[in-house]
């Protein structure tokens, strides 16, 4: 199992579009994916769960991955957080 703390970098926070991007990316990997925030733990492959977090710009969350491809998955997901879910570029 690997864990890592990240911050929501994009201005608009995790609204519907970034949530979809995140879930799509996470679903490519076999590993289980959880997100911890304010003491909640949600399945990171569930878009509805992700939306209930209502994570705004600057919010801090912890990613948890567990499975055969956890390292690759972590790398890809952290990358998504740091580039603001490819949102702000456009």
């Amino acid at each position: 199992m690997v864990k890592k703390k990240v911050k929501v970098a994009n201005q608009a926070g995790i609204h519907a579009r970034p949530a979809a991007v995140l879930v799509k990316e996470a679903s490519r990997f076999e590993s289980d994916f959880y997100i911890h925030m304010y003491g909640y733990r949600i399945n990171g492959k569930s878009i509805l769960g992700l939306l209930t977090l209502a994570a705004e710009h600057g919010a801090e969350l912890e990613l948890e991955l567990d499975g055969p491809d956890e390292k690759e998955a972590m790398k890809a997901l952290v990358e998504l957080f740091s580039n603001g879910f490819k949102m702000d570029k456009k």
């Binding site: 608009a12 926070g13 609204h15 519907a16 579009r17 949530a19 979809a20 991007v21 879930v23 799509k24 679903s27 399945n43 492959k45 569930s46 878009i47 509805l48 769960g49 939306l51 209930t52 209502a54 705004e56 456009k90």
Partner: protein, 594 residues
């Protein structure tokens, strides 16, 4: 519209036979009304059924959304695409699925109520966050919820129809046909519909007799009426009297006898009276149909459509493993002859439950045009096919759909070479002899056929599209369906050109349109020089029976006469004469057997 108040006995309605057959049963009027959510608890015995219904609804809504997504990605409108992407992920949300199933099980409620409650939990939580950037998008979640609820309700209604039911409906979607067939209904009667719409093709594959274009069936019939569906006379008889009922009981018996005769022909070789071998192959859409290849002794698969598979997989076509499994399944047939796999041919009316909003979908973004715009989709499909082909060397033919210019074909061929090269670098076995062919369905290809023939390994003629593009007749439009004539001399001339180009370049020419399954048309095609016909497997025995009673010279003469026809009337006349001759030959054959 005129209101019909009296329900006379022996009311006859005319229509078109989308799927031939003769059945008598009890009519059930089906409509897609709005039903309110039913909060009543379930009997314990019905819980698994309810869960299955929910899973089918997920699959069905997935198909609907897939078609919307395909459409939206062509629009280049990032807002629409974003909404659809979100909705797609909501539909495939593993937690949502698990909680709906848990609710059905624990609370013993119907799928529709469980879906509503599961979504409500999320909606309440999101609302309580008071974040406007989320709350404004709640309508997208409610939309997915409502689609799921509607689908389960449709399935609930359909599941009530018993085995003696004949469904009477305004129109029918491909999804509903599948649901009706799985329930074992006897037949389907529609007010509207075209012969070659996808719903008709699916009904054919699943063997459900269907009459369409009756216009008024739903208004003239009542649920509970006895009804006779007679595809051979293209008519429906509502509330038959005692005499008619007796007559039809005998007729149905006679018909069953005929079927027995056809079953006898199944094991005989497919050859003309003079011994010319004809290859009768199978058209396959669904994994469930693959069994029919052996059952009806098809010589391999002449058209393996991959469209439905990609839609069912629900991952916007990226699920390579699932594609491999489907193709692998096809190779499980007993016959070791070739399998022709057609690349994704979505667009148009193919299984899309929602009307495509392109102004001219049939002249629009479909087939190879989509594949070349969506390279990832093309590459994932090519990789899946090449991997499977490598395990069965020498058996795979790859067919490129909806080509209208040579550039498209060359581009796809180049992609195939690259895929094979990539696999070889990974030490994955590939089939060096994989054959690549083009669908002859756009007139430009038929006109330039001598050019194409130099670049391809085989030709496959799609008569449905070739006819509609040549004659400018929308095959799904029942106002002009009488103009849809696949045997029109203009179409036959194009087919004859393809045959000649095939001969010159020594490459095989096949016909894989539904036309091949019409015994008369099959003879015309053979007469033109087509030796490979591919069709719904269930229809192979009928074609084989006809082929075995005529010589090749007779068929050639027939084809020559057809090419010389000037009018549609002349075509009908030749057909009538042939039907007469065929029925005489059949009764002679029957006597000989007795």
């Amino acid at each position: 519209m005129q209101e019909i108040k009296s329900y006379e006995p022996n009311t006859k309605l005319k229509g078109l036979a989308a799927v031939n057959g003769l059945v008598m049963g009890v009519s059930h009027i089906y409509s897609r009304g709005n039903i309110n959510i039913n909060p009543e608890p379930l009997d314990t015995g019905r819980i698994d059924e309810e869960i299955k219904k929910f899973e089918q609804a997920l699959e069905g809504v997935g198909m609907e959304m897939q078609s919307l997504t395909d459409f939206a990605s062509g629009l280049d409108d990032s807002d629409t695409e974003s909404i659809l992407q979100t909705q797609y992920e909501v539909l495939h949300d593993p937690e949502m699925k698990a909680s709906v199933i848990a609710l059905i099980r624990k609370k013993r409620i119907r799928a529709e109520k469980a879906i509503y409650d599961a979504f409500q939990k999320y909606i309440d939580l999101i609302k309580s966050s008071n974040k406007s950037f989320l709350i404004t998008r709640l309508s997208d979640l409610r939309d997915v919820r409502d689609r799921l609820i509607r689908s389960t309700q449709q399935l609930t209604v359909i599941s009530r129809f018993g085995k003696d039911a004949i469904i009477i409906t305004d129109e029918v979607s491909p999804l509903e046909v599948v649901a009706f067939a799985r329930n074992g209904v006897l037949g389907i009667i529609c007010n509207s519909g075209g012969l070659t719409s996808h719903a008709s093709i699916i009904a054919n594959a699943m063997g459900v007799p269907m009459i369409i274009g009756t216009h008024t069936a739903t208004r003239q019939a009542r649920t509970g009426d006895v009804v006779i569906l007679n595809g051979y006379e293209r008519e429906v008889i509502l509330r038959p009297d005692k005499e008619t009922t007796e007559l039809y009981k005998q007729e149905i018996n006679r018909h069953n006898e005929e079927e027995k005769l056809l079953r006898k022909v199944i094991n005989k070789p497919a050859e003309t009276l003079c011994g010319v071998q004809i290859s009768l192959q199978a058209n396959i859409d669904f994994a469930e149909e693959i069994l029919n290849v052996d059952k009806f002794r098809a010589e391999g698969i002449g058209l393996l459509r991959t469209d439905t598979l990609l839609m069912n997989s629900g991952t916007i076509g990226m699920d390579r493993k699932r594609q491999e499994l489907f193709c692998q399944n096809a190779f499980s047939i007993k016959d070791s002859s070739s399998i022709t796999i057609r690349l994704l041919d979505v667009g148009g009316d193919k299984l899309l439950d929602i009307k495509n909003q392109e102004a001219n979908p049939f002249l629009g973004w479909r087939g190879v045009r989509i594949l070349l715009d969506k390279r990832e989709l093309l590459r994932s499909q090519l990789e899946a096919i090449c991997r499977v082909a490598g395990q069965h060397p020498g058996r795979t033919r790859l067919l490129v759909p909806m080509v209208s210019t040579l550039d498209e074909f060359i581009e796809v061929k180049h992609e195939i070479e690259q895929t094979q090269h990539m696999l070889k670098c990974q030490n994955v076995p590939v089939d060096e002899k994989i054959r690549i062919g083009v669908m002859v369905e756009v007139p430009s290809v038929a006109i330039q056929i001598r050019l194409f023939a130099k670049h391809v390994d085989f030709l496959s003629i799609g008569t449905n599209d070739l006819t509609q593009y040549t004659l400018a007749v929308d095959r799904g439009n029942n106002l002009i369906s009488s103009l849809y004539q696949p045997l029109h001399p203009s179409v036959l001339t194009l087919i004859a050109m393809a045959v000649n180009a095939g001969k010159e370049n020594q490459i095989p020419v096949a016909v894989c349109g539904e036309l091949a399954s019409d015994p008369f048309a099959a003879q015309v095609l053979i007469g033109l020089g087509i030796y490979e016909l591919s069709m719904t497997p269930r229809l192979i025995p009928g074609v084989k029976q006809a082929i075995r009673l005529f010589t090749f010279d007779e068929m050639k003469k027939l084809a020559d006469n057809m090419l010389l026809c000037n009018t549609l009337k002349e075509i009908s006349k030749i057909r009538e004469e042939w039907e007469q001759q065929y029925s005489e030959k059949r009764s002679d054959e029957k006597k000989r057997q007795e």
